[in-house]
């Protein structure tokens, strides 16, 4: 659906070097002067070897990367999404950038470059505080792995988690310290040749998080990774692998920001989840990469492959995402429901404003018997943006009694944005029970006036209405994220009415 009419006048002032200005537009737009160690621009086998060497990887890992690189070379970039962007020059990107002071891995937070810690503090995650708080009862209980450009800089609470047998560390460390686990699962959910961006990630991924929850363990705290792209012309290719063994539970949060830059930056991540028998993985994302300015200049290209396999019986994987950032988003967190009675969930809020484009949704692949999945997608479009839900519900012939419920709601603000819903359903077993609901609505002038008459400013009114619209998804977020995410929805839509 596409309509055209008046567009709110963008603020004339695009200068973003003042703190006050940043607060109003993109709060995380600062960049930090940290000495970086770069690999040369461009992509070839030597770069892949260099990355592997920098990471001190074993031979098998290098071979795995090179294999992926060769696959990638024979692939073409997909163009089926409802996205338009100029061709990406894959040879004009730095594939490896690391803060110089990180060459020698810090043993503890005390050894981490204070400049880096200051950056994270600015982002609202005081790592030091986290550790101090660890001993205090009833305080925040989140373990954080922070990834800065290509390198994981600090993981908190490691010792406490280790006591329970939980492994939470940078994936580069896991490759060295837990090669058997990594070998067993890496690439099993998202194969190397799965798609163009996943193949690229396999070849050049630099860091990310690794999580293993042993049998019967309920991870006592939220695990969280914070991704930050800081360096110019850098791609971030992180790789996350989470394995929840039988009867275990883990809730994992992921947050992302990037500085405001005029040029586009590439982000191509892969996340793989494996849930064994009776295990549950809850994966939440608040994606707030820099979206570009009012005229569509700059911003992150976000091409992400996220997928989980419910391997065991009665396992469950739940994706929750709040997507407000990036110039271009291409992302379909999916579930492969192999185990009988396994459950897949996808809760999504995607906000696009100005010239942002988002093509996002999920795939629910039902293979096991009595598997069920739920999809709740809330798209909010403003400005001249385009917001597409694209989803697949696939019922395999052997999946007796599979159930799916899908709800896709779109909210439009103004008359120049687009909301699109593209649901695919492939049902190869006639015992399947599938429901699909879709609505499109607009924030009405009557709603706005009603709120304003009660004393709310126009922007608070929009924020209230939008958060109400997205409530079913927002309430899936862990407490630690919910308040921040609510504010983010309001901020992302600032200036979109009037």
């Amino acid at each position: 659906m596409n309509t055209a009419a008046k567009m709110p006048t963008p603020p004339a002032d695009n200068v973003i070097n003042k703190d006050t200005q940043l607060d109003k537009t993109y709060k995380y737009g600062f960049s930090s002067d940290i000495e970086m160690d770069y690999a040369p621009k461009g992509l070839n086998e030597d770069i892949v070897r260099l990355i592997s060497e920098k990471k001190g990887e074993p031979e098998w890992m290098l071979e795995w990367r090179l294999n992926a690189f060769r696959i990638w070379q024979n692939m073409v970039e997909p163009n089926w999404a409802k996205l338009g962007y100029p061709p990406i020059d894959y040879n004009d990107i730095y594939y490896y950038a690391a803060p110089k002071s990180q060459k020698e891995k810090p043993k503890s937070l005390d050894e981490v470059d204070p400049e880096l810690l200051a950056v994270y503090e600015k982002l609202g995650i005081p790592l030091k505080e986290q550790e101090v708080l660890a001993g205090v009862e009833g305080t925040s209980n989140v373990a954080i792995d922070a990834v800065f450009d290509s390198v994981s800089v600090a993981t908190t609470f490691k010792d406490k988690l280790a006591e329970m047998g939980v492994i939470f560390c940078p994936i580069s460390e896991a490759i060295r310290d837990y090669p058997e686990l990594v070998k067993k699962y890496l690439g099993t959910v998202v194969p190397q040749g799965d798609n163009f961006f996943a193949a690229l990630n396999c070849a050049v991924f630099t860091d990310g998080s690794f999580v293993y929850i042993p049998k019967g363990v309920r991870c006592p705290m939220e695990l969280s990774t914070y991704f930050r792209i800081n360096a110019r012309d850098t791609g971030q290719f992180e790789r996350t692998l989470i394995i929840a063994d039988d009867d275990s539970y883990v809730s994992y949060l992921e947050g992302c920001t990037a500085p405001q830059r005029d040029e586009n930056q590439l982000h191509a991540a892969v996340v793989e989840l494996v849930a064994m028998k009776n295990a549950e993985i809850k994966y939440s994302t608040v994606q707030n990469w820099y979206p570009g300015d009012e005229n569509g200049k700059g911003g992150i290209y976000n091409f992400v492959t996220k997928r989980g396999t419910c391997k065991g019986e009665r396992s469950k994987i739940s994706w929750t995402q709040v997507e407000t950032g990036s110039a271009v988003t291409w992302k379909y967190p999916s579930c492969i429901l192999e185990g009988d009675y396994s459950v897949g969930e996808f809760y999504s809020v995607a906000v696009t404003n100005n010239c942002q484009q988002a093509d996002t949704g999920t795939k629910m692949i039902h293979k096991g018997k009595n598997t069920s999945s739920t999809i709740i997608s809330k798209g909010i479009s403003a400005g001249r943006s385009n917001n597409t839900y694209r989803g697949l519900v696939h019922i395999f012939p052997e999946a007796e009694n599979a159930r799916n419920y899908t709800e896709c709601d779109s909210l439009l603000m103004g008359n120049k944005c687009g909301a699109h819903t593209v649901p695919y359903i492939r049902a190869h077993n006639n015992t399947a029970n599938l429901e699909h609901e879709a609505t499109t609505s607009k924030i009405s002038d009557e709603q706005l006036f009603y709120c304003r008459q009660r004393g709310l400013s126009e922007e608070d009114s929009v924020s209230l209405i939008v958060n109400g619209f997205a409530k079913d998804v927002m309430q899936q977020l862990p407490m630690e994220f919910a308040v921040e995410a609510q504010k983010l929805l309001g901020i992302s839509l600032e200036g979109s009415v009037g």
Binding site: D445, Y450, Q453, E458, G468, F469
Partner: protein, 254 residues
Amino acid sequence: MTELLNIENLHARVEEKEILKGLSLKVNAGEVHAIMGPNGSGKSTLASVLAGKPGYEITEGSVNFQGEDLLEFEAEERAQKGIFLGFQYPVEIPGVNSMYFLRTALNAQRKARGEEELDGIDFMDFIQDKLELLDMNTEFLKRPVNVGFSGGEKKRHETLQMCALNPTLALLDETDSGLDIDALQIVSRGVNAMRGEGKAIVLITHYQRLLDYIEPDFVHVLKDGQIIKSGDKTLATELEKEGYSGLTNETTAA
């Protein structure tokens, strides 16, 4: 008597159509005014213009509220200054429960007045007696604003908001429409509780029925964008008997 509101020769149009054509009205603190009139006479437009609804163009005249030019202010600023509009057709806000909505509104107003905001617990204490006054319970506050409300529930909810926000000037647009006698009594109880020194109420209504429960000090007849007759409450009874048509003839003749 302290003057609260003074409307002089107000002309207002919406999409090139003139609706208010030189309306004048004075409201003093402590008074209750009823504005009656046939459909399309401009009653709801008057309420909307006073509350600052976008889309209306004021071509002539002035509105003074407590010594300030009311037309200078945005809708939310007018609300913060103590103007409340009870809507004829309250709007649904899916996913936002009444408690959150009302507390957010109250705090926005308190903040604008430099008062301390209420947290969830304080708010529950604050709202309790207002709920009781209107025969409502806290379960009601958990429902999304106006979603699936019956006509009576919507009007009680409007009245609850009025009692909570405690305005200086309450404009009630057809608060009685769609109410059965029981609901009418409850809503009237809320409105009567609002009466008091320093405050005023303007009731916009079709029927005299409401005025049996809320006794006005003045009754005005609005027709074709002007107030054509004013009087005390007996005027309402007269109108009920005679209708508006006779009245028009009388004034045009005069």
